[in-house]
Amino acid sequence: MSEFAKSLTVSASGLQAQSARLRHLSENISNADTPGYQRKTIAFETAFSAARGVSPVEVGRVSLDDRELELIHDPSHPLADESGHYRGSNVNLLIELADAREAQRSYEANLKMFEQARQMSSSLMQLLRR
């Protein structure tokens, strides 16, 4: 496996991981008003493969955030108990948006490295073409 192929593999794994993260974030955001929804979090792991000689990044298990669900006062809600409260989701939109911005930034960085490896290999091919 050439260095450029390694580089492209690793960058592609980074792109995949970041887009998986973004997907979970958008799930969280869209379920921000779902009663009883627990926000999902994912962890990134380095998956070293000695055979390929690279350390691509992989998405680990999805885990649920077990923070306290928000208590919302709305007596007219069908799920409301005797005191007029029901459990909403534990999604904090501000955290999700900040996380999404970070994911986007990392995604762009990976894309840049991918593009760079591609340019380097194409300039190598240019040498053959002359």
């Binding site: 496996m1 450029f4 691509p56 970070e102 490295m113 190598l124």
Partner: protein, 130 residues
């Protein structure tokens, strides 16, 4: 004299080194959000070149075993010493620094290819071809 031209060897080693460096940077960028990941680096080509005859402890990128992917595991990467960008989860990758180093690797690669191409045209001219 024409059996083994040093300028081609050097240009080749330089391009290979730039490729390896770029792959390592891509790996760092892909793992920029992996908890506990420590950024890795290669010694600079200048240092490697300076230590080629001195028998120093520097790993060399100029041996045949270091060809593109021929001998995996020969990548003598080292851990980056700079921990000033360490985040609370133990990740020491700084995207900005990696971008800078990526551009550096790309320029080194282009320089090596330019040297190679120029030496090739000198050789062609000496053979009476254009």
């Amino acid at each position: 004299m024409f059996q083994n031209l040093a300028v081609f060897d050097t240009a080749y080693a330089m391009a290979t080194h730039a490729g390896k460096k770029q792959a390592l940077i891509a790996q760092n960028v892909a793992n920029a959000d992996t908890p506990g990941y420590v950024a890795r680096d290669l010694p600079s080509f200048q240092d490697l070149y300076a230590s080629r005859d001195g028998g120093g402890h520097m790993p060399r990128a100029t041996r045949s075993g270091h060809l593109h992917g021929v001998a995996d595991g020969s990548v003598a990467s080292m851990v980056q010493k700079d921990r000033s960008f360490a985040s609370p989860d133990g990740n020491t990758v700084s995207l900005e620094t990696e971008m800078l180093r990526g551009t550096d690797a790309k320029r080194q690669h282009e320089r090596a290819l330019a040297i190679y191409g120029s030496a090739l045209s000198v050789l062609r001219t000496s053979l009476g071809r254009q």
